[in-house]
């Protein structure tokens, strides 16, 4: 069973974007589901998996428990999946098709523990750092190459420490591939860092000033966070595109990520169409969990945006404070110079020095504010859009299923009419059509249940990650605050005797 699942349909030539809404599952993939023969016949009458509601109050059980084979790096199937253009929207190798086993089997797994992030005995241990931006090339065709260094003990990788050189469009390319493969299945794919034409142009032109350095630092940090988030996702880590990105020395250029390419324009058109579609889908939500969650994410989005805006304002004001403190320090030094009482003059100069140190302190604090806090919030605001996207896909899957049912009904009526009118040749065709439609409807229902289950799991993981992330960042931020206050105390302590010495 596992082997048939591995074989991607070789003749799959119709690479279609998910948005088309057309038939996503040409004949060959039916083999994926044919394995478990004990599919109960009455599955199609299930509503949105409501049977499983009560059992999914806690986290779903470890769905990867049956995965024992790791992806071998040399397996031939990998090469087919590594594509340069828009990836085929086919089910990838992972997750294993044990997901498609009938609901009954699911229920017999008695462990509803929290989802482990262990895979095949390999616990997550990976450290990625992005560093050393290097300018390659000249003029408007120049780009920055970043060194991506990986340190890991996981058996998934050939070596334990290695590094590759990647450019920004490589990251975007990776994300676009992952998004097209996984988003529509309900996986929350971390969004890539944003493009910035202004920023990049400055760098290309070769301006070596403060703002372009800051831009590079910001981007470097964002790329690092992006990669860490991506590999922390147990499914994405195993994706061959990700592995190729991390390991291979040469990567084919991801041209379709350019903003003004034909692929880019196609993306924009599709996005617009999607937005219109979204508005017209009215879903019968029979699972309160999803409604609750969507509301929760809406609220979270609003709050995070507000918080992000406040933190950005804080960063701005602290930078202003730092600049003004430096100016004041100079002014105080001048005042000290012109003061003709010697002790007071000295004290004023000392004050100027203290203020200068404060300026540096404020700068450092602003730096911490920004990189710790503000960027994290920005990341999460963008992650939430990915979450919303996933919920939208679920709605679209539901819609497809419903449409299928309507078509099935029509075919049934057609068949009945033919039977009534006694037209045997057409009847045969109609019967075949109906069977085909039934298959599609069943598939649609399974897809819907699958995406619902995946989303539940993903959301649970997301929430845990979010809490962990926020906690660790806030703790780090608080520690930076402690440091600042300690330094403050040191400076003013040193100044006090000077002030007292004025006579």
């Amino acid at each position: 069973m596992a082997d048939t699942a591995r074989d991607p349909p070789p003749e799959l030539s119709d690479f279609q974007e998910v948005q088309d809404g057309e038939d996503l599952f040409p004949e060959p993939s039916a083999t994926l589901e044919s394995g478990p023969a004990s599919l109960p016949a009455d599955n199609s009458t299930n509503s949105n998996g409501s049977k499983q509601d009560s059992l999914f109050d806690d986290d779903p059980e470890d769905l990867f428990a049956e995965a024992t084979e790791e992806v071998s790096l040399d397996s031939p199937e990998r090469d087919v999946l590594l594509s340069d253009g828009p990836s085929p929207a086919i089910t990838p190798i992972t997750p294993p098709c044990s997901l498609i086993t009938p609901h009954m089997d699911m229920f017999t797994h008695s462990s509803f523990d929290e989802i482990e992030e262990e895979e095949g005995g390999d616990s997550f241990d990976m450290n990625i750092s992005v560093s050393d931006p290097e300018k390659v090339g000249d003029g408007m065709h120049a780009y920055m190459a970043y060194k991506v260094s990986i340190k890991t003990s996981m058996s998934l990788f050939r070596t334990h420490e290695f590094s590759v050189k990647r450019r920004f469009s490589d990251f975007l390319g990776l994300h676009s591939k992952l998004a097209s493969k996984y988003l529509h299945m309900g996986y929350i794919v971390p969004p890539a860092p944003e493009k910035s034409i202004v920023g990049m142009t400055k760098v290309k032109v070769g301006k070596e000033d403060q703002s372009s350095n800051e831009f590079l630092e910001k981007r470097r940090s964002a790329l690092e966070r992006y990669l860490m988030r991506t590999v922390q996702h147990p499914t994405l880590l195993k994706d061959p595109d990700v592995l190729q990105f991390l390991e291979s020395s040469e990567l084919p250029r991801a041209v379709s990520t350019q903003a003004l390419s034909s692929a880019g324009i196609l993306r924009m058109v599709n996005k617009a169409a999607e937005a219109v579609n979204k508005m017209t889908i009215k879903m019968n939500e029979s699972d309160a969990w999803f409604e609750e969650k969507q509301q929760h994410f809406e609220n979270l989005d609003v709050q995070l945006r507000k918080l992000h805006a406040s933190v950005e304002s804080l960063v701005c004001h602290r930078r202003e404070l730092s600049v003004n403190t430096a100016l004041f320090a100079k002014s105080a030094a001048m005042l000290g110079n012109s003061e003709d009482h010697t002790a007071l003059s000295r004290a004023l100069s000392q004050l100027a020095e203290v203020e200068e140190k404060m300026d540096q302190l404020h700068q450092d604090q602003a730096h911490a504010d920004f990189y710790c806090f503000s960027e994290l919030l920005g990341d999460y605001v963008r992650l939430l859009t990915a979450v919303k996207c996933v919920f939208d896909h679920r709605m679209k899957t539901w819609q497809k299923w419903q449409d299928g049912q309507i078509h099935l009904q029509k075919k049934r009526e057609a068949e009945a009419k033919l039977q009534f009118n006694n037209k045997p040749e057409k009847l045969q065709q109609a019967k075949e059509d109906m069977r085909e439609m039934e298959g599609k409807v069943q598939q649609g229902e399974r897809d819907f249940e699958l995406i619902s289950k995946t989303i539940r799991r993903e959301v649970s993981r997301f929430e845990k990650e979010r809490v962990k992330d926020f906690k660790s960042i806030i703790l780090k931020y608080l520690e930076s605050l402690v440091l600042t206050q300690q330094k403050l105390i040191k400076y003013w302590d040193a100044f006090l005797p000077e002030a007292k010495a004025i006579s």
């Binding site: 995070l304 406040s310 004001h317 404070l321 002014s331 004025i502 006579s503």
Partner: protein, 417 residues
């Protein structure tokens, strides 16, 4: 509008004593004449100060009495000193600045308009903040008016001034109106003439080393104090803005914490602790913000106000030097006139008396000016010392408080996870 008594409000400036609020000046309190502002009321667009006097001097009918005065009456008193030729040789204590609540009032109004768009807690919080700000400005203006009166009362000559006694004692309205447009225009031209004149006079090299030194010193010092005062204001404003941001962050964290409370429960005990985490952090930020606001306020009081005051005082000292130089020029001109008269042998007596007058005036001014400038230096050094020491002590106090807060919060948070 708000009616504020001095004793209301948060303990924002509780470190200040109730006695003579000699924030920027080191004054000996003299039992023969003690003046302070015991109360103040803020009405629509004016502030009413209750000036309270305690005196053993025979000039007054009673030993203790109070009157109500407004800002314009302080200005009238100050201007009467400036225009009095007798006081040409003294540093006239600088007039207190006009009470300016416009900015604060505007903010309060804007808050009122935006009431619908924020939660009740946010609104109450912001209102409290603005009220505290209003109160702080109010206390400052009271302090500055009081310092002016105390300086006059401490000055050996000015304290005997008749107008000053009327100001203190006359319990009716002084009917001093503010300057009308014509008078303001006259003032403007007077100032222009004065500064042009001042430039001319400043060019005259002084024979006396002491005064020559003082002239160069004061000129430079005044400019630098002006610069430092402006920059300190900007610095403190940025600090206040940052504190406001922390306030908003605290509110957002609080909402996040309470929201998460309901949702994360389902994910097990570790996640439920997360919402308590956010709430604790929100609490910390709330407290930190209060401390940051205090730091900004203390810096304002001890540093910015100090610099502002000495900006005004150094201007008054410059004015004194100007008057002296003016007198010197007049004296020299009188000398020349006398020589001319003697040469022509006409109106000699007149020229002689005029010359003697100028000489006498000049010498009188020079004598008192010397003492005044020495006193100015003493006062200045003492004030700076006091304020810098207090500034450092307050900064230390707040930083230690802050550190303790953050540290204990960290301990709690790390223990929980």
């Amino acid at each position: 509008m708000m009616q504020e008594g001095l004793d209301d409000g948060p303990d924002f400036l509780s470190e200040e004593d109730r006695g003579p609020r000699a924030v920027n000046v080191d004054l000996q309190t003299d039992a023969t004449l003690q003046v302070d502002i015991s109360d103040a009321l803020s009405e629509r667009d004016k502030v009413k100060f209750t000036v309270h006097t305690k005196s053993t001097l025979p000039n007054f009918k009673q030993n203790e009495f109070s009157v109500v005065r407004q800002h314009e009456e302080f200005i009238w008193l100050h201007d009467s000193f400036v225009e009095n030729e007798e006081y040409a040789g003294y540093i006239i204590p600088p007039a207190p600045p006009r009470p300016d609540f416009d900015a604060s009032r505007e903010k309060l109004q804007k808050l009122g308009e935006g009431e619908g768009s924020m939660t009740k807690e946010e609104f109450t919080k912001m209102k409290q903040e603005l009220e505290a700000e209003y109160l702080a400005i109010f206390k400052k203006t009271v302090a500055m008016h009081e310092v002016f009166l105390c300086r006059v009362a401490a000055h050996p000559v000015l304290r005997k001034d008749l107008n000053f006694h009327v100001f203190l004692e006359y319990n009716q309205d002084l009917s001093v109106r503010g300057k009308n447009k014509k008078e303001k225009l006259e003032d403007f031209f007077k100032n222009v003439v004065k500064s042009a004149d001042g430039v001319l006079v400043a060019g005259v090299k002084d024979v006396d080393d002491f005064f020559e030194h003082e002239k160069t010193f004061l000129l430079e010092y005044h400019n630098r104090v002006k610069d430092a005062s402006a920059k300190s204001d900007r610095m403190i404003r940025a600090h206040k803005n940052a504190a406001d941001d922390i306030n908003r962050i605290a509110s957002s964290l609080y909402v996040l914490g309470t929201q998460d409370n309901t949702d994360l429960c389902k994910y097990g005990p570790t996640c439920w602790a997360a919402s308590r985490f956010f709430l604790k952090v929100s609490e910390l930020f709330e407290k930190t913000r209060k401390i940051e606001a205090r730091v900004a306020a203390d810096e304002d009081l001890k540093l910015a106000d100090l610099l502002k005051y000495y900006l005004r005082e150094s201007q008054a000292a410059k004015d004194l030097l100007y008057r002296r130089s003016r007198a010197l020029v007049d004296y020299e001109n009188a000398n020349k006139a006398l020589d001319k008269a003697r040469a022509k042998n006409r109106d000699v007596l007149q020229a002689e008396t005029s010359q003697q007058l100028c000489c006498h005036k000049f010498e009188k001014i020079s004598e008192s000016a010397k003492q005044e400038l020495i006193d100015f230096k003493t006062r200045r050094v003492a004030a700076f010392r006091k304020n810098l020491v207090e500034l450092a002590e307050l900064e230390l106090k707040h930083a230690k408080g802050n550190l303790q807060l953050v540290h204990s919060c960290l301990v709690v948070l790390k223990g929980n996870t």
